[in-house]
Symmetry: C2
Subunit: 205 residues, 2 copies
DNA sequence: GACCTTCTCACCTACGTGTTAAGC
DNA sequence: TCGCTTAACACGTAGGTGAGAAGG
């Protein structure tokens, strides 16, 4: 199996576990513009969606899959004159921003049979009922996927960082090019899409 | 803990596991009329929904929860002059009609922390992609819930039958009183509900 | 004032209902 | 004809979008 994505599996006698990011081209387009993700009181989904393909797991072992949001630098960001620039010191990261994939725990075979999608994770800027991830607005984050084998010690957690998916949390979009890309590819934003601007093969009705 | 519902747990040294049916009053109203459930090519949800409350599980052990549909007698049924009457011999039951609860496998603590709902099971009369349950139209079924402790042998499956939830599979409703009760209580059928006929406390907007 | 956040809104996606007419 | 099944349909539920005005 070729190694794709941010694989960082541990060695030993086991076969190599690999976790690759899906829709990488789309993520890179956002990354080029500096990606932004909306946070709201009640929680907002991500677009694009973090979706990964796993291989090399033990089919009969049980795993829990996590999505963590790591604050990647130590400052607040500001959008000035069409550019993101680092500002003052960062605020304290809210206590661990970790989302448990709702199909957890499950067998290795389950996680490998189709891509693992984090479509339903919701980002918020308020402390809410659980399931939602609290982030500091105007701070930069990197999503990381963790695989935890149930019953094993925490030192054996496998971590897969995805730098392509970094984004700045915002309460309103700053860069209008980011807004346009979101509208262009997110079906839920179709109301704002001019007919002439639709991407090729765009699902209609 | 009082014993409620169709509990049929096994003895031994373990504490008593109990599984009780939720919304029993509603189920009994349908049962009195002889309940019917629609089957379609693409699968139809059940209404009412099979929903159970479990207790006495080992919080740290892993369980898979199943919903089985057992053909309860050996004839086809006909609706004649406002009555269901047994007809010819039954058709062969389609190979095991067992739905795996989508949160399976999971810890005992998970199954006990809130009622276990089978809202998303879909009944069909055609062989389809998995996840859907194929039943013979005009045959009578009884839903049964099974708890399977992961890794233990199959002789230790715990089975909980719910006779109140028996129904005849149909491709179109036969008894119009059944239709009326469905419309009265299923929010998705609100389009067919006259304002004056709404049950007390019915959710509006 | 400038910056950031919140709220309501129209407009979508996605899909669960029984009805009805047509099909077999 | 009769009994049963299918498919299209209008009308709901449920909830995901960015826009834009209002709030702090």
């Amino acid at each position: 199996e070729p190694t794709v994505g941010g694989g960082a599996s541990r060695g030993g006698r086991e076969r190599e576990v690999n976790v690759a990011l899906d829709d990488r081209e789309l993520w890179v387009r956002f990354q080029t513009l500096t990606n932004e993700m909306i946070v709201t009181k009640n929680g907002r989904r991500m677009f694009p969606v973090v979706k990964v393909t796993a291989s090399g797991l033990d089919p009969t072992a049980m795993y829990t899959v996590l999505l963590e949001f790591v604050q990647v630098d130590s400052h607040r960001w500001k959008y000035v004159n069409g550019e993101w620039v680092p500002g003052g010191k960062a605020e304290v990261p809210p206590s661990n921003a970790i989302y448990i994939h709702p199909e957890s725990p499950n067998f290795g075979a389950h996680w490998m049979k189709e891509p693992i999608s984090f479509a339903k994770v919701k980002l918020t800027n308020k402390t809410n009922g659980n399931g939602q991830i609290m982030l500091n607005s105007l701070h930069k984050y990197e999503p990381r996927v963790h695989l935890v084998k149930v019953g094993t010690d925490l030192r054996r957690i496998m971590t897969y960082p995805f730098p392509e998916t970094q984004f700045i949390a915002v309460t309103a979009y700053q860069n209008e090019e980011v807004t346009s890309l979101k509208i262009k590819y997110n079906p839920f934003a179709k109301a704002f899409l001019d007919a002439k601007e639709r991407p090729e093969g765009y699902y209609q009705r």
